[in-house]
């Protein structure tokens, strides 16, 4: 059966969990799905469970010895010395039981999404458990064990021979995917993120444009700390429309980290729900304009799991399914279900209040600087 949009989910995805106190909290997935259900915006047959990625599929990107190390770590068999070499057992990526299987399921979800979209069984697929963009070939980094996006792109290349445009709107630079395809002219990466001046991982400068044959197929727009909706959206809209026109992808893969929001505790950007409503809207348009609708969307960062992530991620699904979301209020059943578990007051509306934060000093300068950054980044294709 041909479906317009599918939502990849199973409760097993919640097992990608480092610890109770770790900021990367899989409860986000459940909160988002529940918000969609209580809004009557998703049906049971929209939901497709993820499959496991095989070791062969993981090794499209990852080193065999790294995969083995993750397997051993998940069984408690990896020594701390060896773990450290693989970035495992750190505060960012602590070792947890069955970490190989649980990580391989996240990757498998992106492969399921890729198969549905590339074989024409669905136009769009949303896999919020994916988007682990900091994972490297042989090293865990920044909460990411395996890099589902890089594996999925390699898989799409091998199985469907398609040109992939990867679009990363997480507040952190999409370094793992950028370096995976740095010399590949058939994958174009576009990342908009907070400047690496202070923020992890520190890379993502406009001058990182690719290497060798891949030169000119890596785009970075590092925006200043405290950037707000208007300036952020200008960068996003102009960059995406121009890069898509230049690269002419067969499919787009969007990484939808929701950590650029003002309330996010890990970053310093100041965007609101306005931005999270626009991000999928533009991506959707681009998918239909260039890719016959082929659009795979994954999750990513997002550390205010109560007030920001469920709304931001639900908006992707609403856009995908062309649900025009004239809802104003968050369903009271969702609030009453979760408020008692939340340490903060849950939002009552889909949109943020205008007085969410005090006016940012030097807004005009930040906007002007971002404009220059955008100009420099797109200069080669203008």
């Amino acid at each position: 059966m041909n479906q317009d949009s599918i939502f990849i989910y199973s409760p097993e995805l919640l097992k990608y969990k480092f610890s109770d106190h770790h900021p990367f909290n899989p409860l986000r997935l459940k909160l988002t799905l529940d918000l969609l259900m209580k809004s009557n915006a998703i049906k049971t047959n929209d939901i497709v469970p993820p499959r496991f990625a095989t070791n062969d599929e993981l090794s499209l990107l990852h080193d065999i010895d790294y995969i083995e190390a993750v397997q051993q770590a998940g069984q408690g068999l990896l020594s701390m010395d060896r773990a450290e070499n693989y970035g495992l057992g750190t505060e960012d990526t602590p070792i947890f039981p069955n970490m190989h299987e649980n990580s391989a399921l996240l990757v498998g979800g992106s492969l399921t999404a890729a198969d549905y979209v590339m074989s024409g069984k669905a136009n769009h697929a949303l896999h919020l458990g994916g988007g682990l963009h900091h994972g490297f070939r042989g090293k865990a980094s920044g909460f990411c064990v395996y890099n589902d996006c890089s594996v999925a792109i390699r898989y799409i290349q091998e199985t469907y021979h398609a040109k992939v445009l990867y679009i990363d709107t997480d507040a952190h630079h999409g370094d793992g995917i950028q370096w995976s395809f740095y010399d590949d002219p058939n994958v174009c990466t576009l990342s908009i993120h907070e400047t690496g001046r202070y923020l992890f991982p520190g890379t993502g400068d406009i001058h990182e444009r690719g290497h060798d044959k891949g030169y000119g197929f890596s785009f970075n727009i590092p925006v200043d700390a405290f950037t707000e909706d208007e300036s952020w959206l200008t960068c996003y809209k102009e960059a995406l429309s121009e890069v898509a026109a230049y690269f002419k992808p067969d499919v787009i893969l969007t990484q939808n980290g929701a950590d650029a929001h003002f309330l996010d505790p890990l970053t310093h950007l100041s965007v609101t729900m306005k931005t999270y409503k626009e991000i999928p809207k533009i991506a959707h348009e681009i998918a239909h304009q260039y890719c016959d609708g082929r659009w795979i969307a994954v999750g990513g960062g997002g550390y205010d799991i109560w007030r920001v992530v469920p709304r931001a991620w639900a908006l992707i699904w609403l856009e995908m399914t062309e649900n025009r979301n004239d809802m104003n209020q968050i369903p009271s059943s969702w609030i009453s279900e979760w408020q008692k578990k939340a340490p903060v007051t849950l939002p009552l509306k889909w949109e943020d209040d205008d007085c969410l934060y005090a006016p940012i000093p030097r807004k005009a300068e930040i906007t002007e600087k971002n404009g220059q950054t955008l100009e420099k980044s797109l200069f080669p294709i203008r």
Binding site: H134, G142, F143, Y198, F200, G202, T203, A225, L266
Partner: protein, 216 residues
């Protein structure tokens, strides 16, 4: 750190009887701006830069047809022979001083009269970036701390407690008050928030970053 750790060892060279045209093409091909000129024993005889070649080329503003044979002349006619060189065991800091004091952009590295490597200003800058740890995934924290003995040791215990690997530390004087120093630390974590809490709790002023225009 010593020069042999950062120098390029696959040096592109020519002999003195090669033509200026040969040098010009080689520079274009390898996207380089300096060519050491050596004899058959790899002994350094001279060096040619892209500026030397430009000086030898006809002006684009005058009829150049008469000067076409210029490019066929041997390099030895334009190469510089009073060359400043370095040794593989020189300290990188010393090389920095050499570049600062002389109007040159590259340094051939010579050992027992033989050319063994080359370092350019760009290589030196790249090394500096690597030393700051900025090429590895990390977060940057800037801390204003009192300028006295033992501060670094006290401060880094916070990082030990959080099991966070420090990639690099840079210490420099605080411009506005010599009683303080700025300490710039690159840490291997995506989530420095708890570290920053601990540091603030221990009485340090942390910039990560602050609102624009607000000074520590």
């Amino acid at each position: 750190m010593i020069v042999e750790e950062i120098m390029k060892t696959n040096v592109i060279t020519l002999t003195q009887n090669h033509s200026i045209n040969d040098a010009y093409k080689l520079m274009l091909h390898y996207k380089i701006r300096h060519l050491p000129i050596v004899d058959e024993n790899k002994h350094l005889l001279g060096i040619v830069s892209d500026r030397d070649i430009r000086d030898a080329l006809p002006s684009i503003l005058i009829d150049s047809s008469k000067q076409r044979n210029v490019l066929l002349k041997p390099i030895k006619m334009i190469m510089k022979t009073n060359i400043i060189t370095g040794h593989p065991l020189d300290f990188v800091e010393e090389i920095g001083t050499v570049f600062y004091e002389h109007p040159i952009s590259c340094l051939p590295i010579v050992k027992e009269h033989t050319l063994v490597g080359i370092i350019t200003k760009t290589d030196l800058l790249h090394t500096l970036v690597e030393l700051t740890g900025a090429h590895q995934p990390s977060s940057q924290i800037e801390i204003k701390a009192p300028n006295r003995a033992g501060v670094l040791s006290e401060m880094t215990s916070v990082f030990l407690k959080r099991k966070t690997n420090i990639l690099s530390i840079l210490v420099y004087p605080y411009k506005h008050d010599e009683k303080y120093k700025m300490i710039v630390i690159r840490v291997q974590t995506i989530n420095p928030t708890s570290l920053i809490e601990d540091l603030k709790h221990a009485g340090y002023q942390v910039l990560w970053p602050n609102l624009p225009g607000i000074q520590l």
